[in-house]
Amino acid sequence: MGAKTIITRRLAERPDDSWTLDAALATGAYEALKRALKMPPDDIRAEVEASGLRGRGGAGFGTATKWGFLPEGVFPRYLVVNADEGEPSTFKDRMLLERDPHQLIEGIAIASYAVGCTQAFVYVRGEFALGYDRLTHALEEARRRGFVGPNILGSGFDLDVVVHRGAGAYICGEETALLESLEGRQGMPRIRPPFPAIEGLYAKPTVVNNVETISTLPAILTMGGAKYGKLGVNKSTGTRIFSLSGHVKRPGNYEVELGTTFRELMYQRNLGGGIRDDRPVKFFIPGGASSQWLTGADEHLDAPLDMDFVQQTFGVMLGSGAVMVFDDTACAVRVAWRLAKFFAHESCGKCTPCREGTGWITKVLHRIELGDGRKEDLDLLLDVGDNISPGLVAPFSQTTICPLGPSAVSPLVSLHKFFRDEVDEHVREGRCPFT
């Protein structure tokens, strides 16, 4: 397995102008939409079901299943596309926004028609100024050509799409916080149930899907769901874009067939190209900062990119599709501390264990890194973590409203599992051995 170009096809074929309407139309944009509008909406859902498509935003939930939760006969209902990409080391949605906005718009129209909504929103991370420009411009073009708006391509189907900009808050990537934010409030997660499918935006049935998930729909309709579903491995079908970063020779976004191994992703010449200075992999974070870590051990490197396999075997997740690689010059404590600081900064403050716990975790990790740690610090950290995620084992329980709290515990558990000696060395020597 390895590289496979499905949703990055336009980027590969038209590297210099893939985001323009001309390039999009020359490479088949909106053909899938034309076909879709001639199908009964339920048939589209059936195609998506046959494709086995699972959400690319983090949780990997079946897309057709999620659509199926919408209560029958309740209108209006909304589609909200999550383009708030903020999970550390993830940068694929930004690329899709900036370089193929027409594919996303086509996917939005297909999904809206399939679920029966006439109003869609795209929540774009505030810092993505270029992505916002390109998407709003592409939307104008699509409107002029009749791909969006009233009576799309004479089908009788109306769709309005509003692009909404965030303003700097990672937590708004969490779907219920995102809805709060879209309603003009502070982006604080809601207690679920009710789930957004039942009571979402303006308390109406709402589907929230990730940019990559929606961007995959045109290709699924073009290829046919069953054919797409044959790609990949087990219940991880198709391809995904992996954001590869850190100490690899060629960091970047790579679309690969699921089932490709971490080693192939990091080392293949047309992918990561190996580790900087040919050093060994010390550890890597397989699914964005919220995931637990894996190491350079063969069983980890040779594990397939299979959402269920890595979860069941190692308790880690493919999450947002980001793989961050560290060679043997990286200090595990320093990385854990920086991630803890991130979660502390981004905690919305609604739940006590997360608001207080993330702050304490950051402080204690920092003192260990600075050489002021105590022998009992790691156990103290695990105890704080246990207040957020009792038991500290996957699948992670939570005393909090949303999974950000438990995510902050991932670096701790990883340190405990793989780098206890390194933590002890910091404490014993009173300094960071890497500086």
Binding site: P76, E85, G86, E87, P88, S89, T90, F91, D93, R94, Q119, R125, G126, E127, F128, A129, L130, Y132, D133, V162, H164, R165, G166, A167, G168, A169, Y170, S181, L182, E183, G184, R185, Q186, G187, Y202, S243, L244, S245, G246, H247, P251, G252, N253, I285, A289, A322, M324, F326, A330, R334, V335, R338, L339, F342, H345, E346
Partner: protein, 172 residues
């Protein structure tokens, strides 16, 4: 006297109309206010409250939650430096320090440490008024900011909009 210029008042009206519920317009209106003035003043928030029919304190509550809205003047250039892990191990903190020192006394340049900017493929990365610059060193980062200061590069507004609005000078 209204806060928004005549042109922006019209924009504000069409923003409010976009949404099924008026309150949803609060964030885009805050961006619009920041585009106009370079920061978000109490006067702006009061007018936004009027436009969407909620209390000014509710607008403030929303505004204060999000890091991109600046509630005091910060100068013409916001330089956001990522120090999250991909940048941490490739030189982000060193860039942050160099920029902080370089612009410590410059009222026009506001240097802030930020979380992951989704530019890890080009780490270490910064943004200047929300425009990306990747693969930097402390020296090349300073050179990027200087290019904006000289006017060789055209900056977006402090909300990242690519229009030629000159933000108010800090303290002016």
């Amino acid at each position: 006297m209204s806060f928004f210029t005549e042109e922006n008042r019209q924009k504000a009206g069409s923003i409010v109309e976009r949404y099924p519920v008026r309150r949803s317009a609060v964030m885009p209106l805050l961006h619009l206010a920041q585009d106009q003035e370079g920061w978000v003043s109490g006067e702006a928030m009061r007018e936004i409250a009027d436009l969407v029919g909620i209390e000014p304190a509710q607008v403030l509550g929303t505004c204060a939650f999000y890091t991109m809205y600046k509630r005091e003047p910060v100068g013409a250039l916001v330089v956001s430096v990522c120090t999250n892990v991909s940048c941490l191990v490739t030189g982000g903190p060193e860039i942050h320090q160099a920029l902080r020192e370089q612009y410590a006394d410059d009222p026009e340049v506001y240097v802030e440490e930020v979380e992951c900017l989704a530019a890890c493929g080009g780490a270490p990365a910064i943004q200047v008024n929300y425009e990306f610059h990747e693969h930097l060193t402390p020296e090349s980062a300073v050179e990027v900011v200087e290019a904006y200061k000289r006017g060789d590069r055209k900056a977006r507004t402090l909300s990242g909009t690519p229009v030629a609005i000159v933000p108010t000078k800090a303290g002016a």
